[in-house]
C-alpha cells in the first residue's frame, strides 16, 4: 500500500517542483478549500502523530447574540483562514498569531477558498444573510452588521456599490494575500455552501436551489441554474461535473445532482430508494461520488451514469460532513462518532471504530497514515489507517471541534462554543502513540468471562435470597376443584 500511496502523491510533488497547477486539485501543499480540494478528498501530507499543541488562539463567537463561530478553515501560504460571521480571519499556522481580519457583511460561517496559482491568486468568500438568522427569543433578527462591508469595490467587475447591498447574499473576490477588492456577484438567496473552485471557475449554491458558476478572473457569470431543491452543503466538483447535494422537504427527498461544468445542464440526478431529508456533501474520486444520507446509509454513485454502485448502512446517520477518500478507501464519520473505513469499489467494511460521543460537523481528515477526527466534546483523535486503532488523542476541554485542516507542518483545529477559536498541532517527537482497539472487535474470552462471572454472582445471590423468601412465604396454594372432582370420581 505504501508504494501505491507514494505513487499517487507523485503528480502533486511534480507539480510543486515544476510550478504547475493542476486543475481540480489543491494548490500544492495547501488546503485551499473545504476538505482540501474540490473533490473533498480530505487528504493532506501533514505532520504525523503524536502531536503537541503548538498554539491556541481564541476567537470569541460573534454576530447576533454572539452565537456564531468560525467556519472550516483553509490553509494557504502558511495562513489558516476561517470565516466568522462578520469577518474573514487569518491566523499564522506556525505561531497562531492573527495575521489579519477582513470584515464582511454578516453571513453564515462557511468556508472560503483561494483560487489561482503563483502571484495571481484570489480569495473568494460569500457574505450576507438576508433576513438574518432566526434566533431564540427573537422572531427575526435582521442584525445589520456593525462592521463595514467586505467588498469596497464599486468600480470592480461586479459593479455593485457597498451602500446598495440589499440582496440576500453575494460572492466576493479579493486578491490574495493583500485583500484588494476585485469583484462582487449578487446571489439570489442566502448561501451556505461556501465556495468551491476548479480551474478558473468558482461554484456557489444558495438556499433556494440556484447554483452559479463564476469566472474567477473576471467575476463574470458563466452559468446559473435552478436545481429545484435547496442546497446548503459544500459543492464538490471535478473538471467535468459539479456535484450538488440537495436538501429534502416534505414532498421531495434529498438527492445528489450532477451538473455539467461547461453549461450547468443536468447530467444526472441520484435519489436513493429510501427517502431522506439530508444528503451530505459529496466526495469524489476518478469514477464515483460518495455521499451519506440522513437515513444512516452511505452510497457510491457512478460518475458517468449516475447509478448506484453500492450502498451500505451505518449505525447512525452521517449527513453533515463528506467522507474522506484515500488509497481506495472511503472514511465516513457518523454523528455518534463511529468512523468507518469502506472499500471504495465494493463498499465492504475494512474496519470501524465507535467513539460513542457526538460528532456533528467535522469531516474526517487523512494525514499520512492516520485519520483525524474531532468530537463535539472537544477531543481530537488519530486513527491508524490500517488497523482502525486509536493511536493518539487529546482533549481541548471546552468547546466542540468544528473542523480540522492540515498543511505540511501543522494540523489546524477550529473549535466552537465555550472554547471558540483555533489551535495548531505539530508533531511531538517526545510524544508516545497508544493503541486502543475498536470496541466492535469481539474479544471472546472477555465476553464470555464477564457474562459467566456476572451471571454466577448475581443469580447465585438472588437464588439465596429466593430460598429465604420461599421459607417465609411458603409454597403457593391454589384452589383446584378439578382434582377434588377427580378424586370423587375415582372413589375408594
Amino acid at each position: 500500500m505504501r508504494p501505491l500511496r507514494a505513487a499517487l502523491r507523485m503528480p502533486v510533488v511534480l507539480a510543486v517542483l515544476l510550478g504547475v497547477w493542476i486543475p481540480g486539485t489543491a494548490l500544492a501543499g495547501d488546503w485551499s478549500q473545504f476538505q482540501a480540494d474540490a473533490e473533498h478528498s480530505g487528504v493532506a501530507g501533514g505532520p504525523a502523530p503524536p502531536y503537541r499543541t503548538a498554539w491556541e488562539t481564541p476567537v470569541p463567537p460573534a454576530g447576533p447574540q454572539e452565537r456564531f463561530g468560525l467556519s472550516a478553515p483553509i490553509i494557504v501560504d502558511g495562513l489558516a483562514v476561517a470565516t466568522g460571521p462578520e469577518a474573514v480571519v487569518a491566523v499564522d499556522a506556525s505561531s497562531g498569531e492573527v495575521a489579519w481580519s477582513h470584515p464582511r457583511e454578516l453571513g453564515p460561517s462557511v468556508p472560503a477558498a483561494v483560487a489561482g496559482s503563483g502571484g495571481s491568486r484570489t480569495l473568494l468568500y460569500t457574505e450576507g444573510w438576508g433576513e438574518g438568522p432566526i434566533l431564540p427569543g427573537s422572531s427575526s433578527t435582521p442584525a445589520a452588521s456593525a462592521t463595514p462591508a467586505a467588498s469596497p469595490s464599486p468600480g470592480a467587475a461586479g459593479g455593485q456599490d457597498e451602500a446598495a447591498f440589499e440582496g440576500p447574499s453575494r460572492l466576493v473576490a479579493v486578491t490574495w494575500p493583500d485583500r484588494e477588492p476585485l469583484w462582487i456577484v449578487d446571489l439570489p438567496q442566502v448561501s451556505r455552501t461556501g465556495v468551491t473552485v476548479v480551474g478558473d471557475l468558482a461554484y456557489v449554491g444558495t438556499n433556494d436551489g440556484s447554483v452559479t458558476a463564476v469566472e474567477v478572473d473576471t467575476g463574470s457569470e458563466r452559468w446559473a441554474v435552478d436545481v429545484g431543491q435547496g442546497t446548503e452543503q459544500a459543492i464538490a466538483a471535478t473538471g467535468e461535473l459539479v456535484l450538488v447535494s440537495l436538501r429534502g422537504s416534505g414532498t421531495e427527498a434529498a438527492s445528489l445532482v450532477a451538473l455539467s461544468a461547461v453549461d450547468g445542464s443536468e447530467s444526472w440526478r441520484y435519489e436513493p430508494a429510501a427517502a431522506s431529508l439530508i444528503a451530505s456533501p459529496a466526495a469524489v474520486d476518478a469514477s464515483a461520488a460518495y455521499v451519506a444520507f440522513s437515513d444512516g446509509t452511505v452510497h457510491a454513485v457512478d460518475l458517468a451514469a449516475g447509478t448506484e454502485r453500492w450502498s451500505v448502512p451505518l449505525n447512525s446517520a452521517a449527513p453533515w460532513a463528506p467522507p474522506a477518500l484515500a488509497d481506495g478507501r472511503v472514511y465516513v464519520l457518523d454523528v455518534a462518532g463511529q468512523l468507518y473505513a469502506l472499500d471504495a469499489v465494493t463498499g465492504e467494511r475494512s474496519w470501524d471504530h465507535p467513539l460513542n460521543t457526538d460528532v456533528f460537523h467535522p469531516a474526517p481528515v487523512v494525514v499520512g497514515d492516520a485519520v483525524l477526527v474531532g468530537t463535539f466534546t472537544g477531543s481530537v483523535l488519530a486513527f491508524d489507517r490500517d488497523s482502525g486503532d486509536v493511536i493518539w488523542r487529546t482533549d481541548f476541554g471546552a468547546g466542540s471541534v468544528r473542523a480540522i485542516a492540515a498543511d505540511e507542518r501543522t494540523v489546524v483545529v477550529v473549535r466552537g462554543g465555550a472554547g471558540s477559536g483555533a489551535s495548531g498541532l505539530v508533531t511531538d517527537p517526545d510524544g508516545a502513540l497508544i493503541a486502543e482497539r475498536s470496541p466492535t472487535i469481539v474479544q471472546p474470552l472477555f465476553l464470555l468471562g464477564t457474562w459467566a462471572l456476572v451471571s454466577l454472582v448475581l443469580c447465585g445471590l438472588l437464588y439465596q435470597l429466593g430460598r429465604l423468601l420461599v421459607t417465609k412465604l411458603g409454597v403457593a396454594q391454589f384452589a383446584d376443584p378439578h382434582e377434588a372432582m377427580q378424586d370423587e370420581e375415582e372413589g375408594p
Binding site: 446509509t297 460513542n356 457474562w451 451471571s455 437464588y463 412465604l473 403457593a476 376443584p481
Partner: protein, 317 residues
Amino acid sequence: MTKSDRNANRKRQAKPTGYRAPATAPGAAPRKGLLDSLFAPKGVVASPMPKKLTSLARGFVTVISTPAILAVVAVGLILEWVALLGLGFQGPFSLLAGAFAWPGPGTYLDGQLSATVFGGTPGALFSVFAFLLVRAALISLVSAMAVEQLRSGVVSGWSLRRSLRVLPVAFAANMMGLGLLLVAWIASQLLGQLGFGFLVFIAGLVAAVWLTAAAPAVAADEDRRLADVLQRSYRVARMPGSGNMTVATVYALPAFAVIAGYAFAGGIGVNPSAQQWAISIGVNLLHAAAAAMFAYRYLAVAPFVDEAPAPAARRGP
C-alpha cells in the same frame, strides 16, 4: 415428621402433575361488553384474584427461587447477543434489557431492533417476525417453568416440552401486540405524537399486556386450542374486581420507560462490561418475574374463569 418423611412429601409434590383438564366454571356467564369490567358500576366484588402486591411478590420469589428460570434468563441473553453479533449487530447492548419483555413493550423493542439490524433493507419488514418468534420462545419457556414451579414446586423437562405447546400462543400474543401497537402508532400520528396521541400509544402498550397476560399460563396449564386460549386470556383480563388493568399498567409503563429511555441510550460495542451484564440480567429477571406473576394470577383464578358460551343450538324442525 422425620426428614425422610419430608423428602417423601416433597417428592410427591415434585412429581410433574401433567396437563390439567380444562377448568369449568359452575355455569356459563352471559356475554359482556369489551369494557364492562372497567366502566360498570363499581360495587364490592369478591374476586378470587390475588392482591396486586401479593402477585408481585409471588412472581418475583418464583423467579429468583428457581435456578432453571435464572439460568434461562442468563443463557438466553448470551445466546441472543451472540446471534445478533452474527447478524452484524454492533450494539447498543442495552437493547437486550427488553429481551424477556412481554408483548407490547417487547413488541415495540422488536420493531426498533429489526430496523436497527436490518435498517434500509427489505429484510427489515420481515425480520420483525423473527424477533417476535424469539421473544415468544423465551416467554414460552419462562411461563411454562413458572407454571410448573408454582404447581409442583420444581421445574423438570416437562417445562421444556410444554413450552413447545405454549410457543404458538406466545407468538400469537406477540402478533396481537404488534397489531395493537400499529393501530396505536397510527392513531398517535394522527392525534399528535406529544399530546393525546402519545397517551393513545401508551394505551396500546397497556392493552397488549392486559389482553395477553394470562395466555401463556393458560396454554402451559391446560390443554386448549389456540383460539380457546386467547379467548380465555381475554375473559381472565375482564374478570370483575381483578385489578388486571392496574397490574398491566404497572408493568407496561416502567417496562416501556426502560426500553425507550435506557435501551437505546447505550453505546456501540460488542463486549459488554460487567455492569452492563448485571443491568441486563437484572432487568430481564424483572420481566421474567412479571411472567411468573401473570402465571400465578391465572392459576389462582383458573377454576373461576367462565368457559366460552356454547354456540347457539340450531332450531330443530
